[in-house]
Amino acid sequence: MVSMKFAQSFGKSSGSLKYKFGLLFLPLLFFIIYLSVGRYHLSIVELPSSLFEETIERSVLLNIRLPRAIEAMLFGACMGVSGAALQTTLRNPLVSPYILGISSGAAFGASLSIALFGAGYFFLTQPSAILFALIAIFLTLSMAKFRGQFSPISLILAGIIVSALFSGLLSLVQILVEPEKTQTIVAWVIGRLHTITWGDVFTSAPLAIFGIFGLLILRWRIFLLSMGDEEAKALGVDVEREGMLVILLASIATASVISVTGIIGWVCLISPHMTRFLVGSNPKILLPSSLSVGASFMLLADLISRTLWTFEIPVGIITTLIGAPVFLYLMRRAMYEWS
């Protein structure tokens, strides 16, 4: 259903037709490569047959690589779609769940729950992550609002303040808890996918998918919101309510994956931009395409994290190393446009 609409919207803008199939199959391609490559090599041809035999291959595939690949895609999809939705709604190409403090809020919420109740209680960790993600985003937005407007700079600065606040609180939690819990939290905060189990996938997937689909369904309204508050009102949009809904869905999606993976930075900022570069800015095409690009980007980043070195480098480090220079490039370009 989504893929069909996706294809239709591509049909209308002739220039991007060539990306139609490319972007649909990109995650699938990376998915297959991801499952096959690694310390324990599985040939692509033998992938299907290895599923049905009681072998080590089956165990590696089913218990280790498959849940990890799915969580990577889920994370990338959430970040791509939430990032694109927030950038469009707030009319600011430099914001993302990470920049706006949603990620830091979620990380603090999850750590707090781990510190108080211990790890392994997802029914406490996840709601706590979502709650603090929402507190963080609303703090950022209320700080950034000046005379009813969000200036591009004020949003980013308010995001930095809120991120700093929650990072500070997170450090405080780490110091105050018992040493063995500190280790759990430190290991958890550095974004990683190597500990992902089926349990993590099943706990994060429902709300993540709910958030993603919510945003995809709303993408026409998100486009209208990007016309600016007053004009959106004149076009019949209930700006406060619908804007809030977008922020709520993006925060829920982001927080639910972060509550099992920890903070994996920059994906949410750069995947929408890479997508915009390929298909343009209209959310009708941008949002579903960001889903594909985000998922593919995460599979690739995690593949690098598994195979680059003799031991695993946490994927958060890989995405940050890719993300920082890309953000620098975007910042320079934005400064050029603002001047």
Partner: protein, 251 residues
Amino acid sequence: MNGVRVEGLRFSYRDFKIENISFEVRKGEILAILGPNGSGKTTLLKCLAYILKSQGCIYVDSFDLRNCNRRELARILGYVPQMHVPSFPYRVIDVVIAGRAPHLGFRTPTKNDYEVAMRTLEKLGISDLAERPYTHLSGGQLKLVLIARALVQEPRVLLLDEPTSNLDIKNKILLYRILRDISEDISVILSEHDPSLASFADKVLMMKDGRIVSFGKSSNVLNEKTLAEVYETKLHVIKNNGRVHVIPAVD
């Protein structure tokens, strides 16, 4: 009565207010709101567009707008802002399609909506811009795109905030011609800085400090006495073929 009737409209924010605004514009008529900077023209238009919340009554075709929700309002009132800061380089046709929103709600635009948008672009003579990114347009082209967006709303009243600002003289006249065509079956209310251009309108509403100074047929309102009172500047008024030419008396 077919058209707009405003009764006792009031609005205040901090120390700025507009008071006791009442007027009528029939279907097929153009009303120009005239007044110095800060007289409340933009505020009044935003009140009429329900972007700002005001007190008083606005009737369109004798229908009280107070009980309408946003979507219903957007099917009656089309609004063209004075300035639009583009956020992303959308295609012109996609920006115009946004005007179909009040007819679609949460549904996405269909082929039919694209046809309506294309027809409107053709009517305004800018169909060749359809595929262009709207961030790369001249001031005049952008204005026409925003007018097209308001027109595909199929409104009964079109509100334009200083539509001729930033336009060269040729485009200013072209714009009034277009508005004259459009106003055949709707009411048009616009704000204007140039008294001579305001004489293209059927009616003129003169404002100062948030109050109406004079309202009526443009040829009656645009006289030396009223203009001098409103702008606190001496102006010569020359009448010719029912048109009014206002010339600043510099010396």
